[in-house]
């Protein structure tokens, strides 16, 4: 029962935040933080509470409309627990980053909490119709975040974000309905549907529908056009949620459902995933080298990292899958850290154009130190979770085909080019026309340190991530093994 609380809590919290804004003195901010904090506690309690089925940490099934075969089927294992913790944690970080007064902050925090609620839904639900519902629901509040509180051409980028994701969502909806209709019994329960055998051709088409929605959300080229615009014009909190959370839902979807529901389809489409991922990894990295807007640069790095996750997921071997999962967590922290820092610079200086920035080393040494931490994370320096993820993906790729491994290694090299360029433009050199005068405040520093140390923690102590992820990876491999023989 407590799993539903993970969705209801932020949902109602959002509504409460709408009204709390009138009380003044940051009432809605403390409310949001409180709600997310309770959410974390509930998550931990649910995971430790044990569940009837040993495969899952927590499992709950409540019928919603049996005549239509729809039920709230929530299951949480190591991977989804990590994603849920990420969603709630980054929600809190997003709230802390936008602590200054911004206009109608009630609705702002409501949209924030609703995004968290919707993505919690995606990470937990195993009823495909409910999954599709939360998948579509996720787009709306983030659209609001970008459209109302963004800057620059915010309406246009919010609209682009909405169209790309909504249209892709249709792919998922179509596949879900086709799946539900073709099943003999009226149900959308993923576990039941997984048991039914389907011809390979149908599986491939169904997987294409699912994959379209996941890949567009994962922003792998050529479907990535919405990400740079959305990131450039989103508020800092929006960017953190976008990078830390929404990209992960795509990755999580690709990790969980293709192998479970359409193993033959997975094997048929895996090469497509690998090729798309390789092109994306190189294209994202090269594009990042050319950007003059700091946030756009980091957005393209996200495109590159997520393409590597796609390669990992479509690898189909233990190392690749584990690498993809670890990369998902690592990227969430590193991207959020960089977006947060660039947001902090933007709040102080008013511009993100690299040509106008610089000289942080002298004017804000603390800033420079933390930026170096973010720099080494985006660079996938060993000791960070990113490196662990990418090294595992490369190992997996060697087992699949050495060319893919070579491509990921090249992407690793190009990552140095754009990372050092970002560092050179922002930290080194003479201060720009509008220098950053005041260094990181204690609040901002604590956020940056939390995000940075999280990357290092999971990089240096990989078992914290790998042991909980193993059951999820084994499940995927088991369903593939059954088909490969």
């Amino acid at each position: 029962m407590s799993l539903i609380a993970l969705i209801l809590l932020p949902l109602l919290g959002g509504v409460a935040a709408l009204f709390a804004a009138r009380l003044g003195n940051n009432a809605e901010r403390w409310l949001s933080v409180g709600v997310l904090g309770i959410g974390l506690v509930v998550l931990v309690a649910a995971c430790l509470g044990g569940s009837p089925d040993p495969r899952w940490l927590a499992f709950s099934r409540t019928p919603w409309a049996p005549s239509l075969g729809v039920q709230l089927l929530f299951a949480v294992d190591g991977l989804s627990a990590a994603m849920l913790a990420l969603s709630l944690g980054l929600g809190m970080v997003a709230v802390f980053t936008s602590w200054q007064t911004n206009e109608n902050s009630g609705l702002f925090h409501a949209a924030l909490l609703w995004t968290v609620a919707a993505s919690n839904g995606v990470f937990m639900s195993f009823d495909l119709l409910v999954l599709a519902f939360f998948w579509e629901l996720m787009v709306v509040p983030s659209f609001l975040l970008i459209a109302l509180w963004g800057h620059g051409a915010r309406e246009a980028s919010a609209m682009k974000f909405l169209i790309f994701n909504a249209v892709a969502g249709l792919g998922l909806l179509g596949a879900v309905f086709w799946l539900g209709a073709s099943a003999p019994i009226v149900t959308f329960d993923a576990f039941e549907l997984a048991k039914l055998a389907r011809p390979a051709g149908v599986q491939t088409w169904l997987l294409a529908g699912f994959a379209l929605a996941f890949v567009v959300k994962l922003s792998v080229p050529p479907f990535h056009a919405w990400l740079p615009d959305a990131h450039t014009d989103a508020p800092t909190a929006g960017s953190i949620l976008l990078a830390g959370l929404l990209l992960k839902t795509g990755a999580y979807g690709l990790f969980r459902f293709p192998a479970m529901l359409f193993p033959e389809g997975y094997l048929a489409l895996a090469p497509v995933g690998l090729v798309l991922g390789s092109v994306g990894a190189l294209y994202g990295a090269v594009m990042a080298c050319g950007q003059t807007d700091a946030k756009r640069l980091v957005a393209y790095t996200s495109v590159a990292h997520m393409s590597i996750v796609l390669m990992g997921v479509s690898g189909g071997v233990h190392f690749a899958l584990m690498g993809a999962a670890v990369e998902m967590v690592g990227h969430a922290f590193s991207a959020s850290l960089l977006f947060f820092l660039i947001g902090a610079v933007y709040d102080r200086v008013g511009t993100r154009d690299l040509r106008d920035l610089g000289g942080l080393q002298r004017t804000a040494p603390r800033f420079a130190a933390v930026f170096a931490l973010g720099f080494s994370a985006v660079l996938a320096m060993p000791g960070t979770a990113n490196f662990l993820g990418e090294a595992l993906v490369i190992t997996g790729m060697f087992q699949v085909n050495w060319i893919y491994a070579a491509i990921v290694l090249t992407a690793l090299v190009v990552s140095v080019v754009y990372a050092t360029r970002l560092l050179k433009e922002v930290v080194f050199g003479e201060p720009g026309p509008k220098p950053v005068t005041q260094d990181l405040g204690s609040r901002e520093l604590s956020i940056a340190v939390v995000l940075g140390s999280a990357t290092l923690l999971f990089g240096l102590l990989p078992q914290l991530l790998m042991t909980p992820f193993t059951p999820a990876v084994d499940a995927v491999l088991a369903s593939l093994e059954a088909v490969r023989r």
């Binding site: 019928p63 919603w64 409309a65 049996p66 005549s67």
Partner: protein, 444 residues
């Protein structure tokens, strides 16, 4: 056996007491008496739900359908009491109509069928005429005259059936041969008049416009539901003649199309609701024509979804008084949110839009038609729904317009009924599980 007839007895007692209190005593007394009787009857039915059927052999059956019919009759009568009729005799008549409807719902014999029909109709004529305005008198007369003709036709049918089979229970219409066919045709004509199916529908729009909205609500809900249940019972017994299903189908197609077509450019809200009741009878007739006797749960769900919408819409029309036209409704949602929201949701439900219960009702309708592969009927329903969307949306948009002058004032009981109807529409729409489950259980 006696417990089965208890609800009828209680409603009857309520009617008598209300009549006695009408001339003397405080103004609210008759309404309270009627309400008390109805509530008691409803409670008895609810308490006896799990109890096994205890029919009164020849006349009344006490099965799931009867209980559902009685319950619907009591609840809709209670809701209509909430409208607050001006005249003191209203509550008594309302109780009598409920009594007729309850009897009809349980009727398995020609006499109880006839009695139930006539008690409800004649009391309804009384209610229509109550305000004694020229419009209401005209509406009353135009309901009485064809009504009498309809009853005569029904009786003629019953006579022929009795001549043919020598039985007077509903199975009398079961025989084959030309005599039985004629009897069934006449029976169908009589019942079609009560359901206001085209071409027997001419009284409905005038009654909805002329009569006070409370009476119209009662006619549309309690009376119609009971007649549908009677037809359901007949449907289970009388499938022999092809006439029965084909007749229903033809009547359904006609009333579905004409009902929505005639309402296209209607300025008056109550006339639109009149035509919509004709259309919805058509949709119900369509489901009946597919031989739904085996699984009536879908049809009963349709009724359960339709009634709150009808009552809510008429309630808002009643609160607006004479000026319930499209111009006076402008911006209602902003000036009086509860009434606006109720009307909006009711219109959405009548149109079959997703959030309200109407959407699921329409899904079941289409499902039944597709199941029975009645393609012409499906085509008619689709076209009619298309037209219907335009009809209801014209009013829907007007509700949310920015300008608007009429301020609506509705007494507390009316606001309570509005709230209950809206809640019913939302719950049946979003969480249909338990209702649908109970209906399937009730009609097994």
């Amino acid at each position: 056996m006696t417990l089965a007839v208890l609800p009828l007895g209680l409603i009857g007692l309520a009617a008598v007491v209300a009549m006695l209190l009408a001339p003397r005593g405080p103004a609210a007394a008759p309404r309270l008496a009627a309400a008390a009787g109805l509530v008691a009857a409803a409670l008895v039915v609810l308490v006896r739900l799990p109890a096994p059927p205890a029919p009164i052999p020849p006349l009344l059956a006490d099965d799931g359908l009867a209980r559902f019919g009685t319950l619907v009759a009591c609840l809709s009568a209670l809701a209509v009491l909430g409208f607050g009729t001006a005249r003191r005799e209203g509550p008594a008549l309302i109780a009598i109509v409920a009594l007729g409807a309850a009897a009809l719902a349980g009727a398995v014999h020609v006499t109880s069928l006839l009695l139930g029909l006539e008690i409800a109709s004649l009391a309804l004529v009384g209610l229509v005429v109550l305000p004694l305005t020229p419009k209401s008198l005209e509406a009353g007369y135009k309901y009485l005259l064809p009504g009498a003709a309809g009853s005569a036709a029904l009786l003629m049918g019953a006579g022929l059936a009795y001549a043919g089979t020598g039985r007077l229970d509903l199975a009398a219409f079961h025989g084959s041969g030309s005599m039985a066919a004629l009897a069934t045709a006449l029976l169908l004509a009589g019942l079609a008049f009560k359901l206001s199916l085209v071409p027997f529908h001419l009284w409905a729009p005038d009654l909805y416009e002329g009569a006070p909205p409370a009476t119209a609500a009662l006619a549309g809900s309690a009376a119609k539901a009971a007649v549908v249940i009677a037809i359901l019972r007949l449907d289970a017994i009388v499938p022999a003649q092809p006439l029965w299903h084909q007749g229903l189908a033809l009547l359904a197609i006609a009333s579905v199309l004409l009902g929505n077509l005639a309402a296209l450019r209607q300025p008056s809200l109550v006339r639109v609701i009149g035509y919509s009741s004709v259309a919805h009878s058509g949709y119900i007739a369509a489901m009946l024509s597919c031989g739904i006797g085996a699984a009536p749960a879908a049809l009963l769900f349709y009724i359960a979804a339709y009634l709150p919408a009808l009552i809510a819409a008429l309630l808002v029309a009643a609160s607006l008084g004479e000026a319930a036209t499209i111009t006076s409704l402008r911006g209602l949602a902003w000036r009086s949110p509860l009434a606006g929201a109720t009307l909006a949701l009711a219109l959405a439900s009548l149109a079959g839009l997703p959030v309200a219960a109407g959407f699921l009702a329409k899904i079941f309708l289409v499902g039944t038609l597709v199941g029975a592969e009645a393609w012409p009927l499906l085509a008619a329903v689709v076209i009619a729904s298309g037209l219907g969307l335009f009809v209801y949306f014209r009013y829907f948009i007007v509700l949310f317009a920015r300008d608007g002058c009429v301020v609506l004032h509705s007494p507390p009981p009316a606001r309570a009924v509005m709230a209950v109807c809206t809640a019913a529409l939302l719950v049946f729409g979003l969480y249909p599980g338990p209702l649908f489950g109970w209906l399937v259980l009730a009609t097994r």
